[in-house]
């Protein structure tokens, strides 16, 4: 059995495996087949970047498996690693609300298409997180940063951001001009427009969202058994019950003090109508604004505090934060439900994270090197039970993968107002089809929408396979047309043939090359899959006499193969 050269993994550039003193895990049961080097590289590349490995990288690791370490290390420093980290944290937080329609285009954001508003506004905390990870700052900085990231939409949305340079564009580090506590993403206004916490619920909903994401503790998992006729509509009764009623107090005695930390106008965010907006309440800390809400002073499980930065400090001192982070990385990177992450594995990864000086890249590296990540399949039915082998491509990965392979970006223009949009809203505008839930196929592809669909589907179904087929037909047509319009050396994929090429050897050689590019498979010219592809090409060419059409049909098939859907 081939095995990864574990101790060679960990190159320069930041903390490495040796730094973290992690012992390689023992070999698995022989009935568990591990990924071959190219398959492993494919999975690592998809998880860490959302794109396929290059043909050169595959050749490199096939020729010399010890080269894997350096190649994977390169993925950890690829710009698209930031994309993956944002996707990972979005699944933890559900910041991206691509099905939301309640964002008005007004004031400083007038005339902005709603699709753009949605994609920018909710993205800023994810950008802050990925910036911290990519800059190798301690991961703890997500709760201590005195800055956040903004693009031009975010910079115009909030009245208290400073330092954005429109001439430079893109996402930039900006600062707050008000005196809000500096607590990283907890200080980002998005926390308050994204997570509703209505009326007399004050900031409890937001506090629980934070607890679920950062501590893996969801108060809503608990069962509420009301004692008699408790009038939940009466704030006075509720205020009394959350301390006097044991059924309520079990959660509220810790949840309410967490909610009291949040210095934002409760309930306000749902009714935003104008930009720029201001959600921070400067009087919160100085005038104990919590008194008008939860009526409980801020504290973290009994540790008194006054402001968000105190809350951040206490979360960082709580072992559950590191453990939860480790679980979330492992769960997302192995497509394992969070509550199925093995305790011992989570504990080991927690040690890696803390031992590295809270370097999230090191944590990601440790997961990629974990034996569970290497599982290909079981060799018998008994072993197969409980073994996750194939991972399903997420909509965000599919978008990047297809764009990287073919140059095709699946977009459409939605020129109408969105259903239920507030008066004065703009049309939806251009949307990414694979990652928009309202007008595109994000949830039909098994993704989450941040609002209604909170769990991804890690398998295929009717709509996800239909979407893949349509995307394949779009991307194949685009790729062939674009490639044949260029000199061979400048093409993306079809470098070995022309539209006029007809000899079988050349066609098969090109198909072999495509198997490497698309599936990370090195196959012979007479491989069964190549022969099936050759059948398509030859039959379509025979009937149409059109080499371009033959390649479009062939690539349409190859791009909708199961190997594009699972890795």
């Amino acid at each position: 059995m081939w095995a990864l050269p574990w101790l060679a993994l960990g190159i320069a550039c930041g903390p490495t495996l040796e730094d973290t003193s992690v012992e390689p895990a023992p070999a698995r049961d022989p009935a568990v087949a591990e990924l071959m080097p190219a398959q492993y590289l494919l999975r690592a590349s998809m998880v860490l970047r959302g794109v396929r490995p290059s043909a050169a990288e595959i050749q490199q690791v096939v020729d010399d498996p010890s080269a894997l370490a350096a190649v994977v290390e390169g993925y950890l420093y690829d710009p698209r690693f930031g994309d993956a980290m944002r996707d990972l944290h979005n699944e933890a937080w559900s910041f991206r609300a691509t099905a939301q329609t309640n964002v008005p285009a007004s004031g400083t954001l007038a005339d902005e298409p709603m699709g753009r508003l949605r994609r920018s506004l909710y993205e800023s905390p994810l950008r802050t997180i990925s910036y911290i990870i990519e800059e190798d700052h301690p991961y703890t900085e997500i709760l201590t940063a005195d800055y956040q990231l903004a693009d031009d939409v975010v910079a115009r949305a909030w009245s208290n951001l400073d330092g954005y340079d429109p001439a430079v564009g893109g996402w930039q580090v900006v600062g707050w001009t008000d005196d809000r506590p500096r607590a990283g993403i907890l200080s980002d206004n998005v926390l308050y427009i994204r997570f509703a916490s209505m009326g007399s619920n004050y900031n409890r909903g937001r506090a629980n969202s934070m607890s679920r994401a950062l501590l893996c503790h969801d108060y809503l998992d608990r069962e509420i058994t009301l004692e008699g006729a408790l009038d939940l509509s009466n704030p006075d009764v509720v205020a009394d019950a959350v301390t006097a009623s044991e059924a309520c107090a079990t959660c509220h005695r810790t949840l309410d003090p967490l909610a009291s930390f949040f210095p934002f106008r409760t309930g306000f965010a749902l009714y935003l109508q104008e930009w720029p907006a201001e959600l921070y309440d400067p009087n919160w800390v100085t005038q104990e604004g919590w008194w008008y809400g939860t009526e409980v002073a801020p504290s973290y499980y009994g540790q008194a505090g006054t402001s968000l930065d105190d809350l951040a400090r206490d979360i960082l001192a709580d072992d559950r934060f590191a453990l939860c982070t480790a679980k979330r990385f492992y769960a997302w990177m192995t497509q394992t439900p969070l509550h199925h992450v093995p305790d011992d594995v989570a504990g080991d990864l927690q040690d890696v994270l803390v031992g590295s000086g809270w370097n999230a890249r090191t944590l990601a590296r440790a997961v990629v090197m974990h034996p569970d990540f290497r599982v290909s399949h079981a060799r018998d039915a008994a072993t197969a039970d409980g073994l996750v082998g194939l991972q399903k491509v997420r909509p965000e990965q599919l978008e990047r993968m297809i764009a990287d392979l073919t140059g095709f970006t699946w977009q459409t223009d939605v020129p109408e107002l969105c259903c239920g949009a507030p008066a004065g809203s703009s049309p939806v505008g251009v949307i990414p089809v694979t990652t928009d839930a309202w007008s595109g196929f994000q949830t039909l592809l098994g993704g989450i929408d941040g609002a209604f669909v909170s769990q991804p589907s890690n398998t295929a179904n009717t709509t996800s396979t239909l979407a893949l087929r349509q995307l394949a037909a779009e991307a194949a047509a685009f790729l062939v047309r674009e490639d044949f319009a260029l000199p061979a050396a400048e093409r993306r994929r079809l470098r070995g043939v022309e539209a006029t090429t007809v000899d079988e050897a050349s066609i098969r050689a090109q198909l072999v090359s495509l198997h490497l590019d698309l599936y990370a498979e090195q196959v012979a010219a007479d491989d069964a899959s190549v022969s099936l592809a050759w059948s398509i090409w030859s039959e379509v060419h025979r009937s149409s006499g059109d080499g371009t059409r033959a390649w479009q049909a062939t690539l349409t098939a190859m791009l909708q193969d199961w190997r594009m859907f699972y890795y």
């Binding site: 099905a99 009326g199 069962e223 509420i224 058994t225 008699g228 006729a229 939940l232 509509s233 704030p235 439900p337 199925h340 569970d372 399949h377 060799r379 018998d380 197969a384 409980g386 996750v388 082998g389 194939l390 459409t412 223009d413 259903c419 239920g420 089809v433 309202w438 196929f441 949830t443 039909l444 929408d449 609002a451 209604f452 769990q455 589907s457 398998t459 295929a460 179904n461 009717t462 996800s464 396979t465 239909l466 979407a467 087929r469 037909a473 779009e474 194949a476 047509a477 069964a528 899959s529 099936l532 059948s535 379509v540 049909a553 349409t556 098939a557 909708q560 193969d561 199961w562 699972y566």
Partner: protein, 418 residues
């Protein structure tokens, strides 16, 4: 890793996927199921749980009218409510007092639809589709965003909030590209057959090697099943309306009726898109409930007017309908003239085999449920608190699906079916 492996299709025995199997005669070994989920938390004092004249409950105006044995709080502002019960009381069973043990929408939705707190648990509709309708092109039609399919994802299909599925089924209605020069490849039948041979040939190789067992085998099976179902669904494309258009309640009802009558689907989850979450201005419940009951009336009329698949019967004779909001509303108004979340629910069950014209369970003057003898459904001071899982297990049992495997250790609520 200790993840549960899905092997339900395999354990179910003879289901061998293939177009020929899916096109097989639509065996009716259990009723269709429609689950109407009016999301947001309905205030049942406006309709099926009258509480007039109490200091403990802020009730709307109206009067109690009894239909069969069901007391309903009617008023001229809610004409559809009376019209519904005039027509359908004999077929309708009201169940009061299901405790969801939460007051958060998402959590309550999960518990009401699945009877579980498990994120991966499938909802009632998915279970019914899996047990009774796997031979259909799209066993579980999802006309709602809030659905839970868990390990049964392969049999379910989302329509999408703006009927996006239409764009996937009909090339003529595909989402237009930004650059109109970039048309997709559209194959002839022969070319599509070649493409299918490539995809299925490679999947078969995987099934012999990397996907021979367990989790991987399920993933490839789902992939092939999804493709086969997609092909079978294409002829139905026009039923889904126009891509980019919000499907309203009426359109959903029409689609659900067509889907069941044609055999396209066996079960349907429907969210009428009425926002019952009336924290500010509870009076909106008047219109919301009127629209809801008008829709239910329309749904039942449609079911009664269409032929079933058994000789001589109607679709209503072969369909069970569940109507359940995920939570209800507090007895008293809040400071904004609205009502907040309340963890006790009332639901409706009607249709094939349901012992209608009756009420099971009850709530007291403070909207707190009475204890119930779960096996019989009778109010019993020595009984237990009724939970969604009891109700859902009872429905499964009533439609001929053994609930034990889905709700282990749960006593099914009795008294639902004749």
């Amino acid at each position: 890793m200790s993840i549960r492996r899905r092997s339900l299709l395999a354990s179910a025995g003879a289901f061998a996927l293939g177009p020929s199997t899916l096109r097989a005669a639509q065996a009716v070994d259990g009723p269709n199921v429609i689950f109407v989920h009016p999301h947001g938390g309905w205030d049942t004092t406006y309709s099926i749980d009258p509480k007039p004249g109490l200091a403990t409950v802020d009730a709307p105006v109206g009067e109690i009218t009894t239909y069969s044995e069901i007391p309903v709080f009617t008023h001229s502002s809610r004409p559809s409510l009376g019209a519904y019960f005039d027509a359908w009381a004999e077929q309708t069973l009201v169940v009061h007092g299901l405790s969801v043990r939460s007051i958060a929408h998402l959590e309550c939705t999960k518990r009401m639809l699945t009877g579980s707190t498990d994120e991966e648990a499938p909802d009632l509709v998915a279970i019914a589709a899996h047990a009774l309708g796997r031979d259909r092109p799209l066993p579980y039609l999802m006309l709602a965003d809030r659905t839970m399919v868990g390990p049964l994802a392969a049999i379910a299909g989302r329509v999408g909030p703006t009927a996006q599925i239409r764009a996937l089924l009909d090339p003529g209605d595909a989402l237009p590209p930004i650059d109109p020069r970039h048309a997709p490849f559209v194959g002839s039948n022969d070319e599509e057959a070649l493409i299918r041979a490539f995809v299925e040939g490679n999947a078969a190789r995987a099934q012999a090697e990397r996907a021979a067992y367990g989790y991987n085998a399920d993933r490839i099976a789902d992939f092939l099943e999804g493709r086969a179902r997609g092909d079978l669904l294409k002829p139905y494309a026009s039923w889904f309306g126009d891509a980019g258009t919000l499907l309203g309640f009426d359109a959903m009802i029409g689609l659900a009726l067509d889907a069941l009558e044609s055999g396209m689907s066996k079960t349907v989850m429907m969210d009428p898109l009425l926002d019952f979450d009336t924290h500010r201005g509870n009076g909106e419940q008047t219109v919301l409930q009127d629209v809801l009951f008008a829709g239910l009336d329309s749904l039942l009329q449609g079911l009664a007017a269409r032929p079933g698949q058994r000789s001589g019967g109607t679709l209503l004779d072969e369909t069970v309908v569940v109507v359940a909001s995920e939570l209800s509303r507090t007895p008293k108004m809040n400071a904004y003239g609205g009502k907040d979340h309340w963890p006790y629910c009332s639901v409706l069950l009607l249709g094939a085999g349901v012992r209608g014209g009756r009420v099971l369970g009850q709530t007291d003057d403070a909207m707190v449920p009475a204890l119930v003898d779960i096996p019989t459904g009778a109010v019993d001071v020595a009984g237990d608190q009724l939970r969604p899982e009891n109700f859902l297990a009872g429905v499964l049992q009533g439609i001929g699906v053994d609930p034990a495997g889905w709700f282990p250790g749960t006593t099914p609520l009795g008294g639902l079916f004749a």
